[in-house]
């Protein structure tokens, strides 16, 4: 049985364990139908030209873990930004771990999707926001919607800001030979409220994991959201991340994706600007080796006048790794005075590594500022020689140049401890210790 059939038959088993009378269930059934019709995307589709899901579909993933697994904090501490205090929403093999988590209802709700989808007190928010910005057409998003049950639920009311950042962590223990996870997150940040989130998926063994995640973020008027994705999973873990952002007037949403590992990572990052004077920022640092593959698909849809968007993706590809950057910007006819910027710079440090970079601009307004640029190159030999003549060995000199290359993406990370952590991850990835943080 291939994965699609298995998912379809699992859906019935899934229905036995949830409240099918709840209004959300109609959404699930419709989504399942869409997935049944469309199936997994194939390389024939333009959006999936460079990323194949074929081998994943042949893997016999467990759709639900057979049993609950526990983890000791000391064993997974290093995956948390433990230098600072944070709220934590932690899942182990897709199941909420109250032991590792720290949620709150103190003026803000930082808790569980399973609670939000079942308890009456959340019904109003769910009715207004759940599955409202996520695509109803895209098949993997539909697949996630069909199985939506667990994930993070964050609601920040007007003028509020949680006392500390929120970490969303997904661990896979490897107790299943191969496991599929489908977390579903809903994040609502009301007017003038603020939120910082760090999200990470971590597999703890070499058993295969496939995560198909959907996150919906709603940023109301003047809301500020900083979202950091750490994608440093091991080489048997794949991630399909579908993130949808709805922004209203004057809101500022920044998403940073740090992609340092994983077998296959697909980021579908979709921004919809439903207001004026919005600021959307999409930044990424990718450093891959082995046979790792990443595919960054971004969309910024400028639907109203006077908004800005900034995209800055840096990639360093070594060994047999492959990368894709596909950045789509749509500027509607009414979206005058749009300022859209997109930059994708890549360094290939091996002859076998490849990158496909493609800007896609669809501009229907006439008074706009849109710029895009893409570069693919090697490290500058003259710069390398310069550093070496100062006594910096070649390996460190290369690393320093790569650091420097990624640096302006790190500059906008607003949590200093996270920045230090990212720096360390980069240094580790490059196999050096430079003795300073940029």
């Amino acid at each position: 049985m291939d994965l699609k059939d298995k998912l379809i038959s699992s859906f019935m088993a899934f229905e036995n364990n949830i409240d099918v009378e709840h209004s959300v269930h109609d959404i699930r059934t419709a989504a399942m139908k869409n997935f049944e019709t469309r199936g997994f995307p194939s390389k024939k589709e333009e959006n999936w030209k460079y990323t194949s899901l074929n081998s994943l579909q042949k893997t016999d993933f467990s759709i639900f873990p057979r049993e609950e697994n526990t983890l000791e904090y000391k064993d997974v501490k290093k995956y948390f930004i433990h230098e600072i205090d944070t709220y934590k929403i932690v899942f182990v093999d897709g199941i909420y771990s109250s032991y590792l988590s720290e949620t709150t209802h103190d003026g803000v709700d930082i808790c569980l999707m399973s609670a939000a989808l079942t308890k009456p007190m959340y019904k109003q928010v769910i009715d207004v926001y759940f599955n409202k910005i996520a695509s109803k057409d895209e098949s993997l998003t539909s697949l996630n919607t069909a199985f939506s049950r667990e994930g993070a639920y964050i609601y920040i009311p007007k003028n509020k800001m949680p006392k500390k950042p929120v970490e969303i962590l997904h661990f896979a223990t490897g107790n299943e030979a191969s496991l599929m996870l489908q977390p579903r997150n809903l994040i609502v940040v009301e007017e003038n409220a603020e939120l910082q989130v760090i999200e990470r998926h971590q597999s703890l063994t070499s058993n295969e994991v496939l995560t198909n995640s959907v996150t919906e973020i709603f940023a109301a008027k003047s809301a500020i959201v900083d979202y950091y994705k750490i994608q440093n999973d091991n080489s048997t873990a794949s991630l399909i991340d579908n993130t949808y952002i709805d922004q209203k007037d004057k809101s500022v949403v920044k998403i940073h994706s740090f992609c340092f590992g994983g077998k296959l990572t697909r980021n579908n990052l979709n921004f919809y600007q439903n207001g004026e004077f919005i600021d959307s920022t999409l930044k990424g640092v990718t450093i891959l080796g082995e046979k790792q593959h990443v595919d960054h698909h971004t969309l910024v849809h400028h639907k109203q006048p006077n908004c800005e968007s900034h995209q800055d993706y840096k990639g360093i590809y070594g060994e047999n790794s492959t990368g894709v950057f596909n950045g789509k910007i749509i500027v509607d006819k009414i979206a005058q005075k749009t300022d859209a910027f997109q930059q994708n710079n890549n360094i290939l440090i091996s002859d076998k590594a490849t990158i496909n970079s493609k800007p896609q601009l669809e501009i229907f307004a006439d008074d706009v500022k849109c710029s895009h640029g893409c570069t693919i190159g090697q490290l500058d030999n003259e710069a390398l020689f310069y550093l070496q003549t100062r006594g910096i060995p070649e390996k460190e000199a290369r690393a320093l140049l790569m650091y420097a290359f990624a640096n302006n993406v790190l500059a906008s990370v607003r949590i200093p401890e996270l920045k230090t952590r990212i720096n360390k991850l980069i240094a580790k990835k490059l196999g050096v210790n430079l003795g300073f943080d940029l």
């Binding site: 310069y386 003549t389 006594g391 302006n408 300073f436």
Partner: protein, 250 residues
Amino acid sequence: MLKIRNLHASVEGKKILKGINLEVNAGEVHAIMGPNGSGKSTLASVIAGKEEFEVTQGSIEFEGEDIDEASPEERAHKGVFLSFQYPVEIPGVSVTNFMKTAINESRKAKGLEDMPAKEMLKLIREKSEMLDIDRKFLSRSLNEGFSGGEKKRNEIFQMAMLEPKLSILDETDSGLDIDALRIVANGVNKLRSDDKATILITHYQRLLEYIIPDFVHVIHDGKIVKSGGKELALELEDKGYDWLKQEAAV
């Protein structure tokens, strides 16, 4: 300190150095002059270990050791420093962080611990004051957007920080205004000592008024065609290079 014998070097099959002989002893200052494209920067790069240049004949000895096979960083660790004619811009690395890395990597190569942060700061302050470099400058990205003169001054700052045995200054005077030239020359003079040596590559007699050379050499078409004392520089200023080119052709 430095012994260059019959050095031939080419790049992409093109012969650039065609038999250079040069001996520099501790305590000496040598000036190298010569027309554009004659091979001065190439010589400097070859001494510093640039791999693009292929040494086809001859040898370079530094402090009694053959350094032909040494990497640029190994040469730096032994005490060779090159102030670039065109310093490279490195966006994303501050001057301070760059210097920290350079100093600590050099110490590591010598089996020493990292320099304590306090000591490092003191050293940076001391040397930047000596060269009249604004502190704000040090937190900027290395050479990025620096003016021509600022880049050159920054090269000498790096030299002062690293305290090399042999400093090769490739047209460090070009692009410096009169005041900067005096400051940089003073800096170089302060760092002079009996156990150090300097090679100055320049087109102008002016620098040699501040840093008085013991020897002046003229390179033409990849060879040293004339050597002499400091008077030779004055003679060149007066007569140009044509007479030497003709002499060389004979």
